[in-house]
């Protein structure tokens, strides 16, 4: 069973790797933003598989954190890519 779970983790990692290459090779920035999301979900699957394969339950916590911060990073990408103004220019120009 352990080697099956390791194999599954390796398989998911390979597909995530291919997906990352596909996403990062495209020129558009919106495609790049998908990378964090892809790794967030793929990383969660890989980590829960590794947790089951090695019987180390703390790894599930790492998966939890990965999911949380992948979403956070994606928000940062979208914020940075959309030409929003900063707090300062908002208050000086608008009120």
């Amino acid at each position: 069973m352990t080697s099956f779970l390791f194999g599954a983790a390796g398989f998911v990692l390979t597909t995530v790797a291919l997906g990352l290459v596909a996403v990062l090779r495209r020129p558009a920035e919106v495609d790049h933003m998908m990378a964090a999301q892809l790794l967030g979900t793929g990383g969660v699957a890989i980590l829960v598989l590794l947790a089951a394969a090695t019987d180390e339950s703390p790894l599930v916590d790492v998966a939890l954190l990965l999911a949380l911060f992948a979403a956070f990073a994606a928000v940062a990408f979208v914020r940075s890519a959309s030409g929003q103004e900063s707090e300062v220019s908002r208050t000086t120009s608008g009120g």
Binding site: M1, F4, L5, A8, F11, V12, T15, V16, L18, G19, A22, V23, P27, A28, E29, V30, D31, M33, M34, Q37, L38, G40, T41, G42, V44, A45, V48, L49, A52, S57, V60, A63, L64, A67, L68, A70, A71, A74, V75, V78, A81, S82
Partner: protein
């Protein structure tokens, strides 16, 4: 009983891994960002969901199983919202921005 659980683990994890493969194929082959996002969300829902389902019998007691399910819920919810945000960026900037 143990055998039945093992069969569940193997089949559900394999099916989940297959969805990861399908998502990657989608990312490679689909023509525009919105359809590629669509491929990505299938991975969130079904890929991680099936992997979690398969690992439930091996989870560390009831609390471990609950933790796994809540991770799946978190991935699904945040994934859906983040995808929506990226789709908004696509609409704002056009598919090549």
């Amino acid at each position: 009983m143990n055998l039945a659980f093992d069969i569940l683990t193997v089949s559900a994890v394999s099916a989940g891994a297959l969805f990861f493969l399908a998502g990657t194929v989608g990312l490679l082959r689909f023509p525009d960002p919105l359809t590629r996002l669509h491929a990505l969300t299938k991975v969130d829902n079904l890929g991680v969901g099936l992997v979690v389902l398969g690992l439930l019998p091996r989870a560390n007691g009831l609390s471990g199983a609950l933790k796994l399910v809540s991770i799946w819920l978190l991935v699904q919810l945040s994934g859906a919202i983040v995808t929506q945000l990226i789709a908004g960026a696509v609409r704002q900037r056009g598919p090549h921005g």
